[in-house]
């Protein structure tokens, strides 16, 4: 198994794993935010802002994998 083949196998799997992790994280985050909103609708805007910022941080992890994939894509031959 050479370098290119390893990369070709690992890149999609890596993105998938990153997406799974982010998905779980987003799920936890969304659940927490929804519960909080249901419990205290009066602070809804604050929770929403915090939620969106948190989403941004979590989602960035998958995006890093995505960008890494594009940087390394050229080395698969």
């Amino acid at each position: 198994m050479n370098f290119a083949a390893t990369l070709g196998l690992a890149l999609p799997i890596g993105i998938g794993l990153a997406a799974i992790g982010s998905g779980v994280g987003l799920g936890f985050m969304g659940r927490g935010a929804m519960e909080a909103m249901g419990r205290q609708p009066e602070v809804l805007p604050k929770i929403q802002v915090a939620m969106i910022i948190g989403f941004g941080f979590i989602e960035a992890l998958t995006i890093y994998a995505f960008v890494t994939m594009f940087f390394l894509q050229g080395k698969i031959q």
Partner: protein, 491 residues
Amino acid sequence: MTPLIRNENAATNPLARAIWMSWLAAFALAGLLLPRTPGIALAIVAGQSLMAINFFFLDKLVKLFTHAMLPGTGHRQMPGRFFAYASLKVVLVYGGAFTLIRTHAVPFLPLVGGLSLPLLVLFLQSLMRAAGYAASPLARRAPQTAATSGNAAKLAASFFILALLAIPALGHASDHEAEPVVLAQHDPAQPTTPANPEAAQSEAAATAHGEAAVGEHAGAEHAEFEGGEAHLPNWVVILNDYFPDNPVVHWMHENEYLVFAWLAGLVFLVVVWIAMRNPTLVPGQLQNGIEWIVESMEDVCGGMLGKHLPKYFPFIMAIFFYILTMNLIGIIPGFKSSTSTLDVTLALALITFLYVQINGIINLGPLGYLDHLAGSPRDIVGFAMLPVMIPVHILGELVKPVSLSCRLFGNIFGEDTLIVVFVGVAALALKASLTALAVPPMAGITALFMLLQTLTAIVQALIFSLLTTVYLYMMLPHEEHAHGEAGHEHA
């Protein structure tokens, strides 16, 4: 000091604001030029500092002069400080400029450029004021909120500066393209001038990733992008097909990100101008929309920054609107999001980074800033951890622009690629005369993804500006945030 002089602080004084922005511009320019031409970067910063010193003394002189001449103040003669300032100004500014030019320590033209940077900013600022942005409709409508007063002027001015600042990064991008040596070494078939639009397109795409790969695998990258990553044609590409020999079109084709970034700025300015041309108490649709955006952002950012909001709000909104316009313009067929290249997002993120760090130094003071970087050690354990904490915090600061730029680039680029793939499937079906079977569902899916793209465009602009706000908030004096969480925010 008398109230006349004390009232002029940085937030209200347009001159101070212009100098401040030109510092920002000079450092951004210098930072981008430093790896290639350190001499030019040095000259720009030198010119900028000379002019800033010049304006500093000029400001002081004019204030002292007008104050002495003011009727009713009692003293009619110049204070001694006036002459001290005047002689200091002559020695420092003119002496400095003369020495720099005579000794050829720095190249002449960039020095002049640096010298004229504050003047350029002042010119743009006064242009915006003349265009009527100073008389803010928001201020007239809601005078009780301090944050909105005069924001439109600052907003427009900051916006212009941002548009200007995106240029060096794009120049950097075309530098890669203008270097056939590096590319040709690995791939002899690489056309030095992009003859067919497809090769040029993939070359532009390779440029976006050129930072990492241009050194060793440029040829391989080029080959990869031929198949892997096509862009939908935009009107610049189409124009280039029809007028391949026109130098202007050729330049536009090479710098299409720059063209679309300018276009986005222009669109935004025109929309705001139309909306705010005749501000009314009962706002029309467009005015209402823009005011709604500004006011909701003000609420959100005000929750974090509190009384510091008026100082930072123009920058945050300028970033927000600029990114939003650039993102949204890509949805229109035939146009392209400038944010789908790492060069533009990196430029934006670097500007934000510099802005945050400089504001941190100003807010915390140099010592307080170092203390912040060291993680505010207050006990023996804290001081013992210094060798570990300082690199960790510096790394944490440096990761911010990388994460900001990669997030924006990845999201927008990913959405673009998704749509290209689905359109590509539809095009394949066209070729295989399965049109009736495949095109309608594909068109439906593409339309759905375009809705998603709209959502991404708005959310990403929001996240970028909100994270800027969070970073600015972290750089506020420490006693102002809750003490318990001050230590954990950098994790």
